[in-house]
Each structure stands twice: as C-alpha cells, then as structure tokens.
C-alpha cells in the first residue's frame, strides 16, 4: 500500500496551547482513515493543516510525493467537507457543486454535465436548483460531499460531517459515505469523536489525545488490543487488570497478574521483563466458568439485560471485573465461585 498522504512530525501551537503535537501518519492510496478523539484533542487543527488553512509550526505534510506543507489551499486540490457543510447560501445546489469547476475555468457545457453526474451520484438531481436553506440537513450534507468530490480531489478531508444529523439519518449516511468512498476509491481522512462511527467507517483509526496520536491501527486492533489506558477506556467499557511482565518472547508477553495467575498477551512494543503492566480486556471477551481455569474469584452480582447478562466478578486478589455473557449456557449466580478467562488475542497490554 503506497502512502498517499504522509504527515511527519507535525506540530502546531496556539499561543501556549499545544494543539497538535508531533503527529506522524501515513495514509495509503484509497484508504479510509478515521481520526478519533475527544473534543479539543486537535483533530480539526490537524485536518486544517492537511487542507492548508493552517501552516504547521514544524513538521512536513506530503501528498502524492509532493511536499505541500506551505502550499496554499487553492493549489492543493483536496476535497474538504465541514461539520456545518459550509454551502454557499447564495448559490443553488448545482452552483455550489459547480463552483470548483467554474474557478478552474472549465467550459460551461462540461460543468453542467459534471454537476449533473455529481448530483446524480448522491441522489439529488431533483434538488439542483434549490438554495441550501431550502434543503434538509441530510441533503445539504450530500451536496457538500458532491461539491468536494466533483473536482476529483487527490484526498477527501471530512471534519465530523455527520455529527449534525439525527441518529437514523446518520447511520444511513455512514453507509452511503462508505459505499461512495469505496466506489470512487479516494483516499479519505475522516474526523469524528464518535468511536462507533470511527469503527464502522474506517480502514484504520488514529486515536488522538491532547494533540498526540496515541494509537494507530485497524478498528479491531485498537478496540481489542489498546496499548494505552486512554485508548482502552475511550473506545468503550473495559476491564483493567494489574500485573507484571514475567516473560517476554518476541511480541508475546507472559503476564503475572496480581494474585498469581499467569496469562499471555501480545504487544507491538514488548515491555522489559519485570516491569509493571496492565491488561485491558473487553467485558464481552471475559468468560466466567465454574471449572478452575483462569483467574479465580467470586461472582458479586448478575444483571439480566435481555440480550445478555452482566456479571460483576471480584478476583481473589480484589480486582473487579465485568463480563458480558450470553443468557444461554452456564449462568453464574451471586456468591458463586468462578474462574475468569479470555483469549490471548483479546487482551491489550498497557505499559505504565
């Protein structure tokens, strides 16, 4: 996978505030990269630097082999969609979509054909002559997308494009966006603070915190094997178990948990043997059984939720665990002795 977009050591301050801190990213040709993080972590700032609206204090941005760090935005040929769509309110949908072609000096007839095709592609041919104020949120969203894509940009940059839509429409647009992106095969950077949305859409996710990329990987990797406490908790409910790296063999680490149980986990960057570590395990990966296999403990409570049970479990060493279990099969009851276990691939190793 050739890198289409390279971000190298990019840093940006606003006064004292460090908004983006030494970020490195490599986005492959046709890849859909999600930038995920809490509010204020620097997602928009990073995107604006890629788009050219802001210049980094240091670092480089390379697009299709060309250093574009200081290239003005109008010379970059990137498609940008904002959270509020930013449609020109005094132009019709068709004029909005055709604007990028018009400023390129394309012939009128050619513009008309391309605008029509672009609006068709987002199922908005019927709304071509309406002003943005006369379009629903979802329609405005699609016009913005058509406007950004009709110029055949090298990269598509989307800043929380779906966050202003209500839940149903949002899920519909997620699918539509993903299909469109796949069909066109355009390299895309997508900003969101919604972890579910990021996982649904992205080929890979960069999880950001306080201006830094904390982890970069496929949705499965970052969800199942987070490498930091922040990533583990930001992506959903998780169990954190204290332990020590007992043995390290390549990427496989044997962890001695508090209380003595030994479990395996894999880490992209192995810890030094003997150092304290944490294991992050999702509740749905934790299996409670009545046979002595795994970490021993006591069931403190069992909550029935219809599609699943939530079992609250305390290990003999005093750590609290939460397990989601199917309602069928063995049902623990309050006060039962039980053993907790999980597949090694479902544990994220966190180094302090």
């Amino acid at each position: 996978m050739a890198a289409d977009l390279l971000v190298q050591g990019v840093t940006r301050r606003f006064g004292e505030q460090l908004a983006v801190d030494r970020v490195d990213l490599a986005v492959g040709q046709g890849e859909f990269l999600g930038l995920l993080g809490p509010s204020g972590c620097g997602k928009t700032t990073l995107l604006r630097m890629i788009a050219g609206f802001l210049v980094p204090d240091s670092g480089r941005i390379i697009c299709a082999g060309q250093d574009i760090t200081t290239l003005p935005p109008f010379a970059r040929n990137l498609g940008v969609v904002f959270q509020n769509y930013a449609l020109f309110p005094h132009m019709t949908a068709a004029e909005n979509v055709g604007y990028g072609l018009k400023v390129r000096g394309m012939a009128r007839a050619e513009i008309v054909t391309r605008v029509k095709a672009a609006l068709d592609r987002v199922n908005l041919a019927h709304a071509a002559d309406r002003l943005p104020g006369q379009l629903s949120g979802g329609m405005q969203q699609r016009v913005a997308l058509a406007r950004a894509m009709v110029i055949e940009p090298r990269i598509l940059l989307l800043d929380e494009p779906l966050s202003a839509l209500d839940k149903n429409l949002r899920e519909e647009m997620q699918v539509e966006l993903r299909l469109l992106q796949q069909r066109v095969g355009i390299t895309t950077v997508f900003v969101t603070h919604d972890q579910e949305e990021a996982m649904t859409l992205s080929d890979r996710i960069a999880v950001m915190q306080a201006g830094r990329v904390m982890q970069l990987g496929t949705p499965e990797e970052v969800y199942r094997r987070p490498i930091s406490r922040f990533v583990a908790t930001f992506l959903g409910t998780t169990n954190l178990l204290e332990g020590k790296a007992a043995r390290v063999a390549g990427n496989t680490v044997t962890v001695a948990l508090e209380g003595g149980a030994m479990v395996e986990a894999s880490a992209p960057v192995p810890p030094t043997p003997g150092s304290p570590v944490q294991l992050a395990v999702r509740p749905e990966s934790i299996l409670l059984r009545s046979t002595p296999e795994g970490v021993p403990g006591t069931v403190e409570d069992v909550l029935f939720q219809g599609h699943r049970l939530i079992a609250l479990f305390r290990t003999d060493s005093g750590q609290e665990l939460r397990s989601y279990m199917p309602p069928s099969g063995w049902r623990p009851a309050r006060g039962d002795r039980a053993w907790a276990s999980w597949p090694a691939a479902e544990a994220g190793l966190i180094q302090a």
């Binding site: 930013a86 020109f88 309110p89 604007y99 390129r104 104020g133 406007r147």
Partner: protein, 287 residues
C-alpha cells in the same frame, strides 16, 4: 402584518396600569411628538408656495414661481449636483475603507485592537466642528485648503465609521468555513472575496452605504468649512444664503425639492433593501 401588530399593542406593558383616560393621554403624547417632528418640514413646504419673496407662515397667496425661476435656482442646481457627486464618491470611499477596516477588525487579533476600533468609531461621537477645524488646519499645512478633494476626504472620514459598523455586524455572522471551502475548491483569495465574501456582506455594505450617502448629502458643518467657489454642497449653500440674505421663499422651494428628492431616494432604497431583506430572510428562515 397589521393584524398581528394590533393585539401586541393592546397587550402591551402599559395595559394593566392605565385606563381609557390614560390611554387617551398616551395617544395625544405620541401625536404631539409626531407633530413636533413633522411641523418644521410642513411649515417650509407650505411656505414655499407663498407669493411673498420673504418667508412667511401662513403663506400669503399661492404661486409656483419659486420652483420654476431657473435663473434664481441655477446656483442651487449646481450645488445639488456637486452634493450628489461628493455623496456618491464619499460613499464609494467609505465602502472601500469600511470593508477593509471591518474585515481586519473582525478577523485579525493584534495588540491595541480595541483602541484602534474606538479610534475608527470616534468620528461618530466627536464634534464635527472639531474635525472640520482640524482638517482645515491640517489641509492648509499641505497646501490644499478647500474644494472638492478636501470635502470628499472629510466626508469619507465622517461616513466610513457607519460602514465599518454595519459591515462588522455582517462579517461577525459570516462563517469562515465558507471562505475556506471556496479556497479548497481552488478559488484564489481575490476570487473568494468577490464570489463569497462580498455577496454575503451585501446587507452590511448596502445599509452602510445608504447611511454614508445620506450623512454626506446632509452634512453642513464640514461642507461649510471646506467649501470653495464652485465646490459648495447644497446644504452649505443654503446655510450661507440663509445667513447672508435672510430667509427668502426660494430657499423654502429648494428645501421642498430637496425633501422630495430625499423621499424619492428613500422609496427607491426601501424597494431595493426591502427586496433584499426578503430574499435573505427567505433563505435564512428555512434553516
């Protein structure tokens, strides 16, 4: 419109406090204020048809002579043309300065911005007399004392703050992402200004421009100080005439025509701005 306005008045804040008598007094007060505002204009209008060459009220007899004596009116007509020219040019200059200053003030952050902003607004508050005297002094230093150019400059100084104010109000509401979108679509900054920024600042530019025009057209103080032969605005000329030869009926006739012109202008503007407002609110209303 009026259907909705009436019940609003009836359920106004004074409703519980005053009875029918109170309401009658209230009505009379409003009427008195209207009369007080309109009476001087009406007096001049009515007096302008008097047969007497000096201004009297009530008028004695009826004639349109003062409106049709073109020899008498020649100077006034020249002054009127000069006023129009100055007002038009001062408006254009105010728009150019006002647009630039308003954009800088709303978009850039720099030390001393508040002070600078206050400075730009000062011509609205400071006495025009001081401004006119200062300008006269300053202009005499650089050799150009009176006439067209000094008048134009001074008018622009007085008018620009109004444009700055109204454009600033529009610019604050303008979403910067719109301009960024245009940039990312390949438009160079000048093109973005023309295609996106200016059309969206139109309400501010329009109302600021109208204010600038009226203020320049109406101005007496500055025009008086900087007037030169052949470069005297109509208000300045009227003032001079009134103080030199006393109030004659020609003055009243000129005032009547001026009033008619201003009314006509306001009608045209109301048509333009009214339509404009309807168009923009139609877009905004559906958001």
């Amino acid at each position: 419109m009026s259907d909705t306005a009436i019940p609003q008045i009836r359920s106004g804040p004074l409703d519980g406090l005053i009875g029918p008598v109170g309401r009658a007094i209230w009505g009379a007060l409003i009427l008195a204020i209207c009369v007080f505002i309109l009476a001087p204009i009406l007096v001049v209008l009515v007096a302008s048809v008097s047969r007497t060459p000096y201004l009297t009220f009530p008028p004695s007899g009826f004639t349109l002579r003062w409106f049709t004596d073109l020899v008498e009116l020649r100077d006034y007509f020249a002054a009127f043309q000069f006023s129009l020219l100055v007002a038009a040019l001062a408006t254009a200059m105010s728009l150019a300065i006002g647009l630039w200053v308003a954009l800088v003030l709303t978009r850039r952050d720099f030390p001393g911005k508040a002070a600078l902003s206050a400075l730009f607004m000062s011509p609205i508050i400071l006495p025009e007399l001081a401004l006119a005297l200062g300008l006269l002094q300053y202009l005499s230093q650089i050799g150009a004392v009176r006439g067209m150019l000094p008048t134009l400059l001074a008018h622009s100084v007085v008018c620009a703050p109004y444009v700055i104010r109204t454009v600033q109000a529009s610019a604050l509401r303008l979403d910067r992402n719109l301009e960024d979108s245009a940039l990312s679509l390949g438009a160079k900054p000048a093109r973005v200004l023309w295609d996106v920024t200016l059309p969206l600042l139109k309400p501010g530019l329009l109302s600021g421009g109208i204010m600038a025009f009226v203020i320049s057209f109406d101005n007496v103080t500055i025009s008086l100080f900087l007037a030169a032969p052949g470069a005297t605005t109509l208000p300045a000329l009227l003032f001079n005439q009134a103080s030199e030869t006393g109030l004659n009926t020609t003055l009243a006739a000129v005032c009547a025509m001026l009033t008619a012109f201003m009314l006509l202008l306001m009608l045209v503007v109301e048509r333009l701005v009214g339509l404009e407002r309807m168009a923009t609110s139609a877009v905004a209303g559906k958001r």
